[in-house]
Structure formats: C-alpha cells, structure tokens
C-alpha cells in the first residue's frame, strides 16, 4: 500500500501540519511502512468481537453540578502568546 501525495496532503490538512517537501517524502515513506505493519490486523479473527475502547468495564465517575472554579483569566494571560482585553487573539477569522 502506498500513500499518495494527495492523500498525504489531505492528512496534513486535517492535522494542520505544514510539511516541507523534504519532510513530506520521508513521512510518506514512513507511513507506507507503518501501514504495512498495521495491515497485519486484517487477518485477525475478529468476527463478532466487541471493540474495546477502555481497559476496564467501568462507567465514568461523575461530578455533582456545582461551580467549583473561579476566575482564572490572570493565569491564562500569563501563558497566552497573545491576549488582549481578556481575549485570546488569532488572525482575523472571516465567516
């Protein structure tokens, strides 16, 4: 199985990764190899086997509906790359 360039571009777009051409060639090669590895799964005897998303058969623990958090905006401002008037800034989004 070979990853086509268009497919790699689609993946890079979905994952929002800017790939320089040199890196692209290498990653395409690595992905091909990896797809070969995971192709082994195709022969597994999985008919009727329930998929397993979590290690244990337990339900999520829930929390009561209570406000337990206070204003953290000062801490957020301390780590944000760009923040102004309490808002995180991004390049202008046009809808």
């Amino acid at each position: 199985m070979a990853i086509e360039t268009a497919q790699l571009h689609r993946l890079a777009h979905l994952a929002r990764l800017d790939l320089p051409t040199a890196e692209e060639v290498r990653l395409a090669h690595d992905l091909d190899a990896l797809l070969g590895l995971i192709a082994q799964l195709q022969n597994a005897p999985v008919d009727g086997v329930r998929p397993m998303a979590h290690p244990h058969e337990v339900a999520a623990t829930l929390r009561p509906d209570r406000v337990s958090e206070s204003d953290r905006s000062a801490a957020l401002e301390g780590i944000a790359p760009e923040m102004q008037s309490g808002l995180f800034l991004v390049p202008k989004v046009i809808e």
Binding site: H54, A60, R63, R72, F88
Partner: protein, 480 residues
C-alpha cells in the same frame, strides 16, 4: 411552482440549565467578562481531563423520557475532531454512536389549529463552543471561552416537515417542552435555544432533493424567513436548470437571505471516535425510576385534561399550557376553588395576564398569589360582588391594598341583594325618569338598558344586576 414540496428537518441546540459546565466546574452564567469563566479544563490546558456533570445527564434523560424516546442505560461520549479557535481542544466532546436519547416524538400545533407529529432521530449531549469576537480588533479576532463547555442537547428531527409554519410550530413545541421540564431557560437572545435547518425540495413521489443546512438561527421569526427564502431559492434554481449543491449556508437577517458559508468540498472529516478520557455513561434502573417519578405532567396531557375533564375551550387550554408556571398557577387557583375552571381560566388568561404584561413581570413573581386570586373569585361565585366590581378589587389587590375580603369590606363593595332595598331604589329611579318610562312602555325597548344603567349608577354598581333586571322588568311590564 405549486407542485414542489419542501422537506425540512431541524437540529435544535438546547443549552441545559446547569450551574456548572458539562465537563468542568466553571460557571455557565451568561454575560461575564471574557474568559473569566474559562477553567483550565475549558481552555484545554495540557493534562486537564473532562469529568461529566451528573445533572446534565439527568436533564438530557428527562428530555428523552418526556418525548417517549429510548433513553440509553449506557451512552458514549465521542470526539468530533476539527480545528477552530472556539474549539480549544481541537475536538468537541459530543455523542455519535449510542447517544443518550434515540427516537421519540413531539406533537406540534400550528396557528390554524392543525396538529403534526414530528419524529425525532435522536438527542445527544455535547459541549458548546466558545465565541469569536470579530469586531474588537483591526487585524485579529478575539476568542472568549466562557461559553465553551456549556452543556447542550442537540435535538435532531427526522426530515418530516414541509413548510416553515410546520418547522416553527415544531420548534415552539420543543421550546415549550424544555422550559416546561425546567432543563433550559429557553432564552433565544442569549443563544440558549438555537436551530440549524436542513432544507431540500422535491416533487412528491420523486427522491429527496439535495439539502442545504442553514446554520445557527436564533429566533422563531428568522427560522420562518430563512426557510421560506431557502425553499424559494432552491425552487428557482432548479427551475432555472441549476443544480443544488450540498452546503452550509448562513441566514443574513438584515438582507433576509441565506448565503454560502462552506461547501461540501471544504467539509471536515470529523474522525469521530469514542473519547478515551470518558468511560461509558451509565444510568442505573433506580435512577431511571427517580427520573420518571420527577417528570411533571406534560403540557399536551394537561391541555387534553383541561379540555376533556374541565370542559375548557381549546383556546383557554392552549393559553394556560403555554408555559408551566402559568399552568401551575391555574392549577393552584383551581385547587382553592374547585369546579370553577372556566372562571379561573378567564381570570388567569385575562385580568392577570394583562396585569403581568403591563408590569413586565413573570407569573412566578405575580403580585397576587394563586390562592389570593381564588379568594377573590370565590366572592363572585357566592354573589358578594359582581364580576365588574371584582376587577376593581383585583386592581386594589395588585396595588397591594390587601386581600379581596379586606378590600371589599374597607371600600363597602358588597353587592346589594336585598329585594326590598332594590325595589325601593327602582321606584325612585322610575319616578326620576317618567319620560323614559313612558317611551319604553310605548314600545322603545332600548330604554330598558338605560334604566338599568341608572339603577346601577344609583347604587354605585353594587346592586345585584340579575335582581335589578328582574325587579325592573316586573315593574315596567306589570303596569303596562
């Protein structure tokens, strides 16, 4: 054009009225300063984890029970992966396979009295996104994550509606229901209740047309207008030989038109998969029983009871079941004044509704409590005062002057029902207006009402009107 049929399905986003968010302890209160209600979980700091709010799950289950749906004993949260600044984790926690609510129906009544039953596909729990602020900065958009993580249920209908009127009637029915259940404040301006509409057109008997999704419409009127515009646009396009492309469109209220937001080619591949941070959500049988027990009598059931058992006209029943607080108020009046449903309905829908509207207050904050109103109405029933005098007493009660009985006594409003006194008073009136009496006897029947009016005036309205009528007629007709 008349042979085209529109096919409409709605996705309604219902914000659940919890104190805290779906997965964090941050407040859901509306209108705070930007990012002051964004916890570390909401901002998706590295290492933070979601923990589900039990009350959001209960409210979603309550909705499912109310629409007669299957409420899942085990449902699963999934990640919907996409990049957008108002989605801080790069995915939204939603439900995909195994939502909490599957199926169900909602009965909607149109303005013309027609009823439609709308099938629901599902209702799933998910977290709301934050908000982008586009006009605050020159070259940048600002991101406020206060709303991020607010619990929602997305109520998805089957595509079974055929006009904007049906769609709006359905949307209103859902709106009434979620407020009735107390799971949503229903505030459309604040975005607590929003709607996406899927619209296509076809000719009956042919396959469905390509649908367009109109995003984020937040008023009943705009939903109606957006759907009407979209139906017309699609029909016009097809008749002009164009093909409809599947796309997401935005409704521009100012221009009253919809426009392309993104086409299917730009569509994200959401890569849904079960959220590994969240094991399945289980609702134990005992919890189901508790929820069922807590479910109030629903508006449709109440409306039917008002018509069938209480004998109210459908109009009154509709008005009384528009919201639960009004209906509960009516129930309380009736509880204190059994057997007087029509009288109680008239007053709740009439005098009380007008007073509330004038004072701009909710019925739950009414200046006259249900039991006090019942005490007033009891004085009409037992003949102490007339309905007309009762309106004055109501006004005095509204002004805070005291209870009905106290006001009646203080103002001397007790109705005169003493036959002798009324007869004496009538004799005086007849003596005062000999000309009119003569004309009446000469055949001018209209003058009867004039003489009644004079009698009521003479007693400041306190004479029992029925007795006045009876005794006056006796006097005039006897000696003719």
């Amino acid at each position: 054009m008349s042979d085209w049929q529109a096919v409409i399905g709605l996705e309604i986003h219902v914000q659940l009225s919890t104190q805290s968010k779906l997965f964090s302890g941050a407040s859901t209160a509306y209108g705070a300063e930007p990012n002051t209600q964004a916890s570390f979980v909401d901002v998706a700091l590295p290492g933070t984890l979601p923990v589900p709010n039990v009350d959001a799950i209960r409210k979603a289950a309550m909705f499912g029970l109310a629409v007669g749906a299957d409420v899942a004993a085990e449902s699963i949260f999934a990640r919907k992966n996409y990049f957008y600044p108002d989605s801080p984790k790069g995915y939204q926690i939603s439900q995909y396979e195994r939502p909490i609510v599957a199926g169900g129906t909602v009965l909607a009544r149109l303005d013309d009295g027609r009823e439609i039953t709308v099938q629901l596909t599902r209702a799933h729990l998910e977290e709301d996104a934050g908000k982008s602020v586009h006009d605050a900065f020159h070259a940048a958009s600002g991101i406020d994550l206060n709303r991020a993580g607010t619990p929602l249920i997305e109520v998805v209908s089957e595509p079974v509606m055929h006009s904007s009127a049906e769609a709006v009637a359905y949307m209103k029915a859902v709106h009434r229901l979620v407020r009735w259940l107390g799971i949503c404040d229903g505030n459309l301006q604040e975005g607590s209740f929003r709607c996406d509409a899927n619209v296509s057109v076809h000719k009956p008997g042919t396959p469905f047309g390509t649908r367009c999704e109109i995003k984020n419409v937040n008023s009943f009127r705009f939903v109606e207008k957006a759907i009407d515009y979209e139906i017309e646009r699609q029909i016009r396009a097809i008749e002009n030989g164009e093909t409809i492309v599947q796309e997401t469109r935005l409704y521009d209220a100012a221009a009253n038109k919809t426009r392309t937001m993104r086409s299917k080619e730009d569509a994200e591949d959401y890569r849904y998969f079960p959220d590994p941070d969240l094991p399945p959500i289980r609702i134990a049988p005992a919890e189901f029983e508790a929820l069922r027990a807590a479910l109030p009598e629903l508006p449709d059931a109440r409306r039917a009871r008002y018509i069938d058992a209480l004998g109210l006209p459908p109009y009154d029943a509709d008005k009384l079941t528009e919201d639960r607080a009004t209906s509960d108020y009516f129930e309380a009046v009736l509880g204190a004044l059994p057997g007087q449903a029509k009288l109680a309905a008239n007053w709740v829908n009439g005098e009380l509704a007008a007073a509330l509207n004038e004072s701009q207050i909710e019925i739950t904050a009414s200046r006259i409590g249900a039991v006090d109103l019942a005490a007033l109405l009891a004085r009409i029933v037992d003949g102490t005062i007339s309905g007309k005098i009762a309106k004055d007493v109501f006004a005095a009660m509204w002004a805070g002057e005291g209870s009905a009985d106290a006001i009646i006594d203080a103002k001397g409003l007790r109705q005169i029902s003493d036959t002798g006194a009324i007869a004496q008073m009538l004799d005086d009136v007849l003596a005062q207006f000999p000309e009119q009496v003569a004309k009446y006897r000469g055949g001018d029947a209209k003058l009867f009402q004039f003489l009644v009016g004079q009698a009521m005036k003479a007693t400041k309205g306190k004479a029992n009107p029925a007795q006045v009528n009876e005794l006056l007629r006796e006097r005039l007709d006897a000696s003719r």
